[in-house]
Amino acid sequence: MSRLLVHSLDLRGLEPPEPMTRIIEALATLPAGTQIEARLERRPMFLLEELKRRDQNHTCEPHPEGGWRLTVPIAAAP
């Protein structure tokens, strides 16, 4: 079984657009095969648009303890 590297980010309590900046910069610098798991205060509408624009796979769902959980797997370059 292959191992999955998970990069966790708690981005609650940050003023917009800091959560977007941190996630996309992490996306650009982490190695392929890593998965970003971010916890956010509210649903990041503009970040979701930006991820969609970049054709970047992601899921965003309510966190059981409040707020939202965003998962972004970083695929290997084709």
């Binding site: 648009e49 624009r53 970049r54």
Partner: protein
């Protein structure tokens, strides 16, 4: 990583509405400086009604609509229902408002009807778009409740406006046009603008102050009091003035709870207020006189208080529009416009270049100065109206004009990033990271 389909940003919907609104504010202030009797004379005159629509429709409504298309998807946590509807609204609004203002100035009701129909259709699309955005799916928060209630008030106010216009064109009869005008004005001022402001603040302030809503119960309470106020104001204005003091009391309670919630959020915030937030929160300073004078005016209309001086309605209008709403909406604009530009220009470059911070886009000193000069100008205008002094109104309008010029200079600086991008090469070695966990 693949790229790059066209950016689906709201910038080309919200930004034109903002610029249209700011230009109307600048125009209104120049006009007021040249003709202070717009605020010191009787309100039922063509030029005063035209002026009220420059401020209400041209400035406030444009900025509220622009803010809505940018902010409400964030507040509702849903994407905007339709960009196409928003673009049609933009065109109808930008075309309709100048026609309405021209028609009012020259008292040509057929021109008002043409412009008014465009504006009415635009706002019908706005209401549909905002409501549909909230409903996919609905998350019931104080912001959602307040925005829905404000949309109902807006629909009512637009309906009353259409009724007044139909009467002016001779298509229908109206027993008391001044009572209808009062119902229209209060439905817009309290039922739409102030309620919308309170509702949006329950998302906007926690987001920028980095604190949770301090009391959802208090926030819902303020929305409920606003709704009760509007429900009583309308029959009170049209048929039963005895209801007006109760309506004004509920409006005051709504404004009071809104103030307490905002002050609680500010006092708990771990961050220092920036210029935009200071300007936004300056609106709170005007709420006490607005509430007290509305209550007194309601007692007058119900026959429980003496008529001390004329122009009380204009004084309430001045404090609410030039004080509370202008501070709040300019403050909101000072936060939203840089974000729009940053999102459009720099979000696509994230991860590929070192992009400026949001605070790098604005002149912070100008915004800090505006947080003092705009409320001061509002106070001067209110003093001029209260003392019926043309000279004081001109001083207020002059200070306001200087403030708006400074605001526009800051706006130009922000917009310059659209054609002069200021990113730097991206340095990946400086990226700080949290611990990396391993999942089997």
């Amino acid at each position: 990583m693949s790229k790059s389909s066209p950016a689906p940003s709201q910038i080309w919907i919200a930004l034109p509405l903002f610029i249209f609104g700011f230009l109307h504010l600048a125009g209104a202030l120049l006009w007021l400086g040249a003709e202070p009797s717009l605020l010191t004379g009787h309100f039922y005159q063509p030029r005063v009604i035209a002026f009220a629509h420059v401020m209400g429709l041209g400035f406030l409504m444009s900025l509220v609509a622009g803010s809505s298309y940018q902010l409400l998807p964030v507040a509702f946590e849903n994407p905007l229902f339709s960009r196409s509807l928003a673009k049609i609204h933009l065109v109808l609004h930008v075309g309709g408002v100048p026609a309405m203002v021209y028609g009012f100035m020259h008292w040509q009701m057929s021109v008002v009807a043409v412009g008014g129909t465009a504006v009415l259709c635009g706002f019908a699309l706005y209401i549909l778009n905002v409501a549909a955005t909230a409903l996919r799916p609905l998350r019931w928060t104080p912001t959602t409740a307040g925005v829905f209630a404000s949309l109902v008030s807006l629909s009512f106010a637009l309906g009353v406006a259409a009724w007044i216009l139909a009467a002016k064109l001779g298509w229908t009869a109206v027993r008391d046009p001044l009572a209808l005008l009062g119902a229209h004005t209060y439905a817009i001022l309290i039922g739409f603008f102030l309620l919308f402001l309170a509702a949006v603040s329950y998302t906007l302030l926690p987001m920028f102050l980095l604190v949770p809503l301090t009391s959802a119960r208090r926030a819902f309470g303020s929305v409920n009091y606003f709704i009760l106020a509007v429900v009583l104001f309308i029959p009170g204005q049209l048929a039963a003035p005895v209801l007006l003091p109760l309506a004004a009391l509920f409006a005051s309670l709504g404004l009071g709870l809104y103030s307490v919630e905002n002050i609680a959020a500010i006092s708990r915030s771990p961050r220092r207020l920036d210029g935009g937030l200071r300007l936004y929160t300056a609106n709170l300073a005007f709420l006490l006189p607005v509430a007290a004078l509305t209550l007194f005016r309601a007692l007058q209309l119900a026959g429980y208080a003496p008529t001390l001086a004329r122009g009380l309605d204009t004084l309430i209008f001045t404090l609410a529009v030039f004080g509370t709403l202008t501070c709040a909406i300019l403050g909101m604009g000072a936060k939203i416009v840089p974000f729009l530009v940053w999102q459009h220009r720099y979000a696509p470059l994230l991860g590929r270049a070192a992009v400026p911070k949001l605070s790098d886009l604005v002149y912070t000193r100008i915004l800090t100065a505006l947080a003092w000069s705009v409320p001061a100008a509002g106070v001067l205008l209110a003093l001029g109206v209260a003392t019926q002094s043309d000279r004081t109104v001109q001083c207020g309008a002059g200070l306001f004009c200087l403030s708006v010029c400074a605001f526009l200079a800051n706006l130009l600086h922000v917009l310059s990033h659209l054609w002069q991008s200021k990113e730097k090469p991206f340095n990946t070695t400086k990226m700080p990271f949290n611990a990396v966990a391993i999942k089997p």
